[in-house]
Symmetry: C2
């Protein structure tokens, strides 16, 4: 983690939002970020090296926030000076942490001469006030105007972020060394604390060997809450256990939610204790969601997107987007916005961010990103590049910053030069009343390279013809995305985590052949 | 941070709460923690060294949770085995991460022989099922029964916590290395995300050089929210700025809250946008809190306790304890429970935890604890001992885990051998209708060693005699705690953070003398 992360995220997601308000002066995140990147460059030119302290002696203003972010962006360390101190105390602290640069405002100009005379290392003064820059000082505005913005120096984690002097009860003040991790942890712990559901029992119905269920158990222990466990997903035992243990929270995958809702004895159990249901692995279909909201109106739904390499959660789509408005706008199909502390980009093959709305690969940074693959340096290097985890997941981000996972990149079907994302076709199929479960894969096709092939499990007692299914899809999605062929099966192979094993579905079709997209 | 932290906290705060529910078998946190500490010892005896992998091949059960915590408690690394795998895949993963111990349940016993035959390093099998332990295996229950509990091995941070195999799209599965920090960050980020107030503007009225305001700015940036700034606390400018910028959040100290409420033009401003007010540095008096709740009924109050060395937040007392019930029970005076991720103990001079309700020193561990004091190894060693930060703050913890700060240890007054905590006396004084601000210090006394001395600023237009003040106190607190002398002042010296500078108040009385408690 790194303390400029939120600024990067704001520059990405909401550049026109007002970042600072100060006595009638307003700066957007775009303006603020530009000033920060320029100030960072100016400080570097003035000699601020990595881990070098830069001090500020000033009352509060928007410039104080620029100082914070500018120093961190440039790789330096804050030393905010106590505004009640006398010149000797200030000089002591500047000397103690060997500060070379001091920002100062109008209120403290009268102390500048005394500081310059007494300090062991006479600091460069940067005037951050509202008037004319005094002789012998550099002006903050001039520095920002004349310096080009620089790249973030990329400090974080255990790197030092600030030295905060604290009054000693005896002797001289002591400089408390706070790292990026320290400050981040303090904030995130406090925020997490107020979000926890108190006195909750979670039910582990998804397999605990899998990262999603294990991470949930980790959090439940961290919060000091309780665990109910069943050996494996079984709709009846889930319902029984919710009723008996008064379960409040549950993690499932959409196929399990569907099985739960369709259980013939669903109505016989009292599951009114259930408050929150998280699901992952794939978006939920509108049909299943509507049924779920109808049958469990008291439950809040969260869609978590993640992967083992991210330990695992990357983004969460909150309950409000699952309600009627979210269903109408299509926001229920989003994987949500990147979580606090995680920086996500959607990039092209060259690692460049693509325009909003265009599909690319999700890459991300954060304290949650794995250390690597055990004993596999090459595979690790292929996905961890300059601190960014390359997920292999295809997605686009809309203008509000919501992520929409279109597919695993490797599941993308290339048919006649067009990219077809299976998830989109599957969503269309799932809306047909006879479809209980479905999967869409690419199979070899002489003419198109790959053809879109659908595998469908029908609901008990329901049926449809191949032509009915294709006609239904044509009403919802473009012709080239519609399945060329539809195959009915009694079941589909599922992974331990409840994901449909497309690799297994594809294998028989591709024996002896090579897919262009793998 | 370390993933057994929450378990330690539960053992401390709620040992009798049910931790695990499994098919009618219930274990409290006390029972669960005891089993975990014994299992950890058994695993160590079987050869589990620090960083060594231990695997489990089982359906979900309460034993799976014991395995997680037991391995971590003993210093090892989890390798949860995919329950859908064939013997060759399982053997590949055990070999790949060099596992020496495998827990197995009834469901997978049929695979044990194949695994034992093929694995490069034949694992020790621990039977974690519900029947008789098969020949050639050790029984989980027997191991737990016959092994003494061991101390937590103390792994955490960047130490490896789990190797989670993820299906390769090509080739063999890869073991994703998740550290304690990775798993902790994933959980805490997700929780923090749902706690953030969206589209909020915070007002920086407390000085930004101080760790509390700076940490708040850090969080506001992390969340991508907006900052309003004023140069320094001024009641009128605070009110004006809330109205003009529609400020939602504000951090103050109680003396500032009081000044705000007492401003003659308080009612002329529209501050209805204000939603949350955090305060720190000292508990709020009941009188100020009641006034605040009366005049700003829409505002939620949070009391944050912290110190620079903790970057800074340690605990938060939430809004519900500030409402009528909390005021009646006295819970409003608490500093709250330790935040998520922070392990707090109240200890005696020998570092031993004191019984609930007894006063001791607060010590704590967490990712928020500073790296040390800059260039001061001795001072650092004096407060950072074996990973625990010694705060010098005196407090007691009640049975529910709520912390009550009684005083800085060094502010404790020792009078006639009795310990008097200034805060308690100040709380009594503050309830007198004529008292606007007060401070209680120990001054030299021939007979008692120290005498309790009160300094009082009267409210404008109000007055009281020394004897009236003392009589008022005698009604509220024990006689030996009551001020022997009361001195009226027009103001009290405040630190940059708004704390009353008791050191300055005490100094003239103690010139040339030495206090027993310093």
């Amino acid at each position: 983690m790194y303390l400029t992360q939120g600024l990067h995220r704001s520059l990405q997601l909401q550049p026109e939002r007002t970042a600072t308000h100060f006595r009638g002066r307003y700066r957007t995140y775009r303006e603020f970020g530009d000033r920060v990147a320029r100030l960072a460059g100016a400080l570097q030119k003035l000699g601020m090296r990595a881990n070098e302290r830069v001090s500020m002696l000033a009352l509060n203003s928007d410039h104080y926030l620029e100082y914070m972010m500018g120093v961190w962006w440039g790789g330096g360390v804050l030393n905010p000076v106590n505004i009640r101190w006398s010149v000797p105390e200030i000089v002591y602290s500047l000397d103690d942490c060997d500060t070379g640069i001091l920002l100062i405002d109008d209120h403290f100009l009268r102390m500048a001469e005394g500081i310059a005379q007494r300090a062991r290392r006479k600091p460069v003064f940067i005037y951050a006030g509202e008037g004319q820059t005094p002789a012998g000082m550099l002006g903050l505005e001039a520095l920002i105007a004349e310096t080009a913005p620089v790249e973030d120096a990329g400090r974080g984690g255990n790197d030092l972020a600030a030295i905060m002097y604290t009054g000693g009860t005896t002797g001289m003040p002591k400089g408390v060394m706070q790292s990026h991790l320290n400050l981040w942890a303090s904030g995130v712990q406090r925020a997490a604390d107020s979000a926890l559901v108190r006195n909750s029992i979670t039910l582990h119905a998804a397999p605990l060997f899998h990262t999603a269920a294990m991470a949930r158990a980790v959090m439940q222990f961290a919060a000091g809450e309780a665990h109910a466990v069943i050996p494996m997903f079984d709709a009846r035992e889930v319902l029984e256990t919710i009723e008996r243990e008064k379960v409040a929270e549950l993690l499932l995958v959409p196929t399990m939610i569907h099985a739960l809702l369709m259980h013939p004895d669903f109505d016989k159990y009292d599951i009114s204790s259930l408050r929150r249901m998280a699901y992952g692995a794939s978006p939920i279909s509108a049909a299943v969601l509507e049924l779920a909201m109808d049958r469990m109106p008291q439950v809040e739904f969260f869609h978590a997107y993640g992967l083992t390499e991210a330990s695992p959660v990357v983004s969460v789509n909150p309950p409000e987007n699952h309600r009627e408005q979210g269903r109408e706008s299509g926001l229920y199909r989003s994987a949500g916005k990147p979580c606090f502390g995680i920086h996500v980009k959607v990039v092209d093959d060259h690692g460049q961010e693509v325009p909003r709305g265009e599909v690319g690969e999700i890459i991300l940074r954060g304290a949650n990103v794995m250390q690597g693959y055990w004993n596999k340096p090459e595979e690790t290097a292929a996905v961890l590049k300059k601190g960014w985890l390359h997920t292999g997941d295809g997605a686009y981000m809309n203008d509000e910053g919501y992520l929409f996972i279109v597919d695993r990149m490797k599941d993308m079907i290339v048919s006649g030069g067009e990219n077809v994302f299976s998830a989109e076709v599957e969503n269309a199929l799932a809306r047909h009343p006879a479809v209980a479960m479905c999967a869409v894969i690419g199979i070899p096709d002489e003419r198109w390279g790959e053809a879109v092939h659908a595998l469908v499990v029908a609901k008990p007692g329901a049926s449809a013809t191949e032509e009915e299914i294709r006609a239904h899809c044509r009403e919802l999605i473009a012709g080239y995305k519609c399945p060329k062929t539809v195959e009915f099966r009694s079941e589909l192979p599922l992974s331990g985590a409840g994901k449909i094993l497309k690799k297994d579905l594809r294998a028989p079709f591709w024996q002896g052949r090579t897919r262009a997209v793998n």
